[in-house]
């Protein structure tokens, strides 16, 4: 038993932290407004923020941090899962605009299950940050029940012809390719009839329609495919194996829970309490406030322990499906708890949205109170996570 990092991990952590601090604009912490666990504020508020995020990304590419977790032969450092966990922890703590799903999910998945052609086509572009992808999984009638997707891809010569619709496609408008699951065998078994196909957003027949989320941010989209012709070489791996690849892709997603942002959120709230007086007394002396914050501190600690546990299991070559469901469940419920506490502690001031009009904590609390709704719904609802824990983990019968 060992609840600490190795020397090598500590050195990696220090090197990474130095890079993040030097590469981020000095006032980034005042501007970053993403809420831990939320999916709603992925897009940036201003043109300046977007430019800064781009420039940070370029620095990552230039200094070798962008694909740091990849195998050495593809320009990475072949990090252990624990080092990757440290990487995600530190970048999310500083709320660095580093999460690029093509690098974190699609690249490593292609390296693992893709054909040689797939690797040639996609890996270099992803590594340079030139190819960005959106996840084309959910459909209007296939949310939690993903196996019910109805988008089809029919092979015609050297092409696939796609028809159908995707929804909740985060940042599809800001990416250049879709990583789309579509049914390639209409008569096949639910799980053995689906393939992953990469679709260029600029292909004729692709229509992207924005969905503005409740924060007022354009993060989601609906994407329509109307006889979209895609080169057959854009098929990832083998035909009809999409669901199995999706599971591989999921393995790379397990540590992406923005864990560090929770610690940051707690510190932000504690900072506000320390600076604030209410009724002539320090707010930090209020028993209710103290209890709330201490509860959250303990939950953040628990979330971190679930997080490190998932990383150690991955390093042991185990598939932590149950443990990562627990991690997802704990972090996203914490997202809501942190938002509730922030609103309660701010009281009437929690109604102020705009920092320029005096909104405390940069207006983060009310945004978080909205954004946290997405946390327990996106990427597998809390109910789905509990189902996984109960049936796969505890062996409770499904009928």
């Amino acid at each position: 038993m060992e609840f600490q990092f190795t020397e090598k991990e500590l050195a990696f952590r220090a090197e990474l932290e130095e890079f993040i601090k030097s590469a981020l604009p000095p006032d980034w912490q005042e501007r970053a407004r993403s809420w831990p666990g939320g999916y709603g504020a992925m897009e940036y508020d201003s043109e300046q923020d977007r430019k800064d995020a781009e420039s940070f990304k370029q620095k990552m590419v230039d200094e070798g941090w962008f694909t740091v977790s990849w195998p050495k032969e593809y320009g990475g450092r072949g990090l252990s899962n624990m080092e990757q966990a440290i990487y995600f922890e530190r970048t999310s703590y500083y709320r660095a605009p580093s999460l690029n799903i093509a690098t974190a999910i699609m690249g490593p998945t292609i390296l693992q299950i893709g054909t040689e052609e797939n690797k040639e086509d996609w890996v270099p572009g992803i590594a340079k940050g030139e190819i960005e992808m959106w996840l084309g999984y959910s459909e209007p009638d296939a949310g939690s029940d993903l196996a019910s997707i109805r988008t089809t891809a029919v092979r015609e010569g050297d092409e696939y012809v796609l028809n159908g619709q995707k929804i909740w496609s985060s940042l599809a408008h800001a990416s250049n390719y879709g990583w789309v699951i579509a049914r390639t065998d209409p008569d096949g078994h639910r799980h053995r009839s689906v393939s992953i196909i990469v679709v260029d957003n600029n292909t004729p027949g692709v229509a992207i329609r924005p969905l503005i989320n409740i924060i007022g941010v354009h993060s989601f989209n609906e994407v329509f495919f109307d006889n979209v012709r895609v080169p057959a070489r854009n098929l990832i791996g083998q035909e009809n194996m999409g669901f199995y690849y999706l599971m591989t892709a999921l393995d790379f997603e397990r540590l992406i829970v923005n864990i560090g942002a929770f610690k940051h959120g707690l510190e932000m709230l504690c900072g506000y309490v320390k600076r604030t007086e209410r009724g002539g007394k320090p707010l930090g002396a209020d028993p209710h406030v103290r209890r709330k914050l201490a509860e959250i501190a303990a939950r953040v600690e628990i979330a971190y322990l679930f997080y490190w546990r998932t990383a150690t299991l991955l390093d042991q070559g185990k598939i932590p499906s149950v443990e990562s469901s627990a991690l997802k469940l704990v972090t996203t419920e914490l997202s809501r708890m942190l938002a509730n506490a922030s609103m309660e502690i701010l009281g009437p001031y929690s109604m102020l949205m705009d920092p320029a009009q005096g909104a405390p904590m940069n207006g983060m609390a009310p945004r978080g109170y909205l954004d946290c709704i997405s946390a327990t719904i996106g990427a597998g609802t809390s109910e789905i996570q509990r189902n996984i824990i109960a049936t796969r983990g505890l062996g409770l019968p499904s009928k």
């Binding site: 038993m1 060992e2 609840f3 600490q4 990092f5 624990m82 504690c270 309490v273 320390k274 320090p282 707010l283 930090g284 002396a285 028993p287 406030v289 103290r290 209890r291 914050l293 201490a294 509860e295 501190a297 303990a298 939950r299 600690e301 628990i302 322990l305 679930f306 490190w308 546990r309 990383a311 150690t312 149950v322 627990a326 469940l329 704990v330 109910e383 996570q385 509990r386 189902n387 824990i389 109960a390 049936t391 983990g393 505890l394 062996g395 409770l396 019968p397 499904s398 009928k399």
Partner: protein, 373 residues
């Protein structure tokens, strides 16, 4: 980072579970609740043969020379069967205090006897009108020049009635707190068991002009506050580990029950409502274990652990209430019957929470450490 038990730790845990399952299954609580002593001396002797009482006692005093994690694993196994009896007060409190504060003579005299299972100890801190912690202690220790005189009344002294020594916390002489070892057979000492919620043998103890020889002073007179705070933290963490065992067992039984109990023609565990109760229990049990192990590991390593302990105590306390309540919910009406063992877990979970600071108390300590003011 390595969150798994080592081979040796795994062995301690599995052999402890095996021993306790055989020698004092949870039904023992029922058998012993009306027993005046409250435990089996036969089982106590067998524990000593296994080296449990001396688990943390250095080898030079005939102990096993283990660390806090070793003790933690035994306590966890004890929690799984809601084990009452003098182990906690003798080992986690008494032996720990003597190892830390005893003079060489005291250690030589007492520690080997503890290891052999020949001594039962208890710790007396709480008093009427007092809350958790060490404030408001009114029991006094005065120095007559020749020996010391103890006066006062204590509550929740676990096993005082069968103890060879009560380690009593008192105010004085003068400012500051002291700890003295009181032989309960001394004139002026009276102990009587209290009727308590989880059937441990908690006692009241009164001291009326009890003469204490100087050889029975533990640590430095009038300078024990800091040490006692440390001991109470240590004990709070020990209770966390016990709690982990309690809720692990309640959880396991509930899952088993959900798989076998049939209603509407199917196992109730196939209903999502029950499945989600079980999944929530997983999060609580695993979280409680991880946060308690983390703190125990820090203690074993000699690292500062106050905040980790308080967070662990707060979390496990809440988690234990949720898990045991859900266990009853899943088991239904049968779990409301005395003949069914589940209520021992429900009781023990709450008793562990109130020992050495409840959820609120430890959340407040956590808040102190967040530096909010």
């Amino acid at each position: 980072m390595d969150l798994d038990l080592t081979k040796e730790q795994g062995f301690i845990k599995s052999s402890a579970r095996e021993f306790l399952k055989k020698e004092c299954p949870v039904s023992t609580v029922r058998e012993m609740r009306d027993d005046p002593e409250g435990f089996s001396r036969n089982v106590w002797k067998k524990m000593a043969v296994l080296g449990w009482q001396g688990i943390m006692i250095p080898e030079e005093y005939d102990g096993m020379g283990g660390d806090f994690l070793d003790l933690a694993l035994i306590l966890e196994a004890m929690g799984e069967v809601c084990c009452n009896g003098p182990f906690f007060s003798t080992v986690a409190l008494g032996a720990a205090a003597i190892i830390q504060w005893g003079t060489e003579e005291q250690k030589k005299e007492l520690l080997p006897q503890i290891s052999k299972g020949n001594l039962i100890l208890s710790l007396a801190v709480a008093e009427t009108h007092q809350w958790y912690g060490l404030d408001g202690i009114q029991t006094t220790l005065t120095d007559t020049g020749q020996d010391l005189v103890l006066n006062g009344a204590k509550l929740f002294v676990e096993n005082a009635h069968i103890s060879d020594y009560i380690l009593c916390v008192a105010q004085g002489p003068g400012e500051g707190l002291s700890v003295v070892m009181v032989d309960p057979r001394s004139p002026g000492v009276q102990c009587s068991p209290l009727n308590t919620f989880a059937y441990e043998k908690q006692c009241s103890a009164t001291f009326h002009n009890v003469h204490i020889p100087r050889a029975n002073i533990l640590g430095t007179l009038g300078a024990m506050r800091e040490g006692l705070e440390g001991l109470q933290e240590f004990a709070a963490l020990a209770k966390c580990l016990e709690t982990v065992g309690v809720i692990q067992a309640a959880f396991e039984q509930s899952v088993e029950y959900a798989k076998s109990r049939k209603q509407f023609g199917r196992a109730i565990g196939s209903f999502q409502a029950i499945q989600h109760h079980c999944a929530n229990m997983v999060v609580d049990v695993d979280g409680a274990r991880l946060i308690s192990y983390q703190a125990a590991w820090r203690v074993a390593q000699g690292l500062p652990a106050s905040v980790e302990i308080s967070m662990a105590k707060a979390w496990t306390g809440e988690a234990a209430k949720r898990v045991t309540a859900l266990s009853h919910q899943i088991h239904g009406a049968i779990s409301f019957c005395d003949e069914f063992d589940l209520h021992f877990y429900y009781r023990k979970a709450k008793a562990c929470e109130t020992a050495f600071g409840d959820v609120q108390y430890h959340l407040d300590k956590t808040a102190d450490r967040l530096g909010l003011v």
